[in-house]
């Protein structure tokens, strides 16, 4: 194994640069090092001004998503050795405004997430004293997959529709809405439908499917969206055929 590997990192400092550029670093190549370790090596030993987000280093907090050689990846789970020999190019997640070096602005996603009402909606709350809402393992299984989203936003970086149209709600927000819709304890599907069943919501998705391909937690947002389309269509027909059913 070679001793070192070349890291090409996108740098951008809004106070100095008008547009991003690439900077090259030589870093040690070790079997157990992931791309994030290489970045930390640079930050600690070479250039403290390199900025990026990270925290758990175990693929669960969702902070360290970046483009590695053009693909959206969790850098704490992407080994350097997979790219050796050769260079590793690290860029900020695509489709988001770049704040600094490898840090992108995700406020847009948070706003979209709130709009999808990702919380349990009940017509009538049950008092705690009456115990839990019963839910069988099968009912749990119906939404479990969609509840695994770590909000890493790799799917947004992979989805060309989001890149083209920033108004698009996007894969993770819709998958999380679907997570609650499919939860046997939830009664808020109708409220979420109005928000998601419009042209910036599910109908913007053309089923490119890359969101699902890149998702590190196997959430399958593409599936969630298509399933939602089916539900929305059924609901639409119901409301056309039986307008009196009402809201």
């Amino acid at each position: 194994m070679a001793e070192t590997i070349t890291l090409e990192v996108q740098r951008y400092n809004p106070e100095k640069d008008t547009e991003p550029g690439l900077q090259t670093y030589e870093v040690p190549l070790k079997k157990e090092w992931v791309v994030l370790d290489a970045l930390n090596y640079v930050k600690d030993k070479v250039d403290g001004s390199l900025s990026f987000r990270w925290s758990c280093r175990m693929g669960i907090c969702g902070s360290c998503g970046m483009m590695v050689n053009g693909e959206p990846k969790l850098t704490c789970a992407t080994f350097l050795t997979d790219y050796a020999p050769g260079t590793v190019r690290v860029e900020p997640l695509k489709h988001f405004p770049v704040l600094r070096d490898l840090v992108v602005d995700i406020t847009d996603f948070l706003a979209k997430l709130s709009r999808a009402k990702p919380w349990l909606i009940r017509k009538q709350e049950k008092p705690l004293a009456e115990g839990e809402y019963l839910q069988t393992p099968e009912q749990l299984d119906a939404f479990k997959q969609f509840s695994m989203c770590i909000n890493c936003l790799l799917c947004y970086a992979a989805c060309p529709v989001y890149g083209l149209d920033p108004l698009f709600s996007g894969p993770a927000a819709i998958a999380l809405a679907q997570r609650y819709n499919m939860d046997s304890r939830d009664q808020g599907a109708a409220q979420r439908l109005d928000i998601l069943s419009h042209s910036d919501g599910i109908w913007g998705c053309t089923f490119v499917g890359e969101c699902t391909e890149v998702c590190p937690k196997h959430v399958d947002p593409a599936g969630a969206i298509q399933q939602y389309k089916l539900t929305a269509t059924t609901e639409w027909f119901k409301s056309m055929l039986m307008p009196w059913r009402g809201e």
């Binding site: 060309p160 529709v161 083209l164 149209d165 109005d194 928000i195 069943s197 419009h198 042209s199 109908w203 053309t206 389309k229 929305a232 269509t233 609901e235 639409w236 027909f237 409301s239």
Partner: protein, 116 residues
């Protein structure tokens, strides 16, 4: 949101049309587009085909075959133009072109299957 968009309706046409196109179009293209013209297989003659086309079941079949896939096309092509060429701002024009085409085709199909 108030009034809901008619996307669900268009999407349903797209889906059903897509399924019909997937199930039936390949064999049609293969036979009428390649096998018969190239003489790999002997297709039905004029009279036989006309008789077949006039059968009530065939009329229904043809009507479905010639309409729903057009709406599949209209929907899909609309988004291809939006995204592939990044011309979503021209959406009125695109919609007219795509769905307009599908509607004209449908009218044509209704007329032909009826009058043949």
């Amino acid at each position: 949101m108030g009034k809901r968009s008619n996307e669900p309706f268009l999407w349903m046409l797209f889906s059903v049309g897509g399924t019909i196109a997937a199930l039936l179009l390949p064999v049609h293209v293969f036979l009428f587009g390649l096998a018969f013209p190239l003489g790999w297989l002997d297709g039905p003659g004029y009279e036989a085909l006309l008789a077949l086309a006039r059968h009530p079941l065939t009329r229904v079949y043809l009507l479905v075959f010639c309409t729903l896939p057009l709406f599949h096309y209209a929907h899909r092509f609309r988004y291809t133009l939006y995204d592939g060429l990044q011309i979503k701002h021209l959406n009125e024009l695109i919609n007219t072109f795509c769905y307009g085409g599908a509607i004209v085709g449908t009218a044509f199909a209704v007329y032909l299957t009826w009058s043949i």
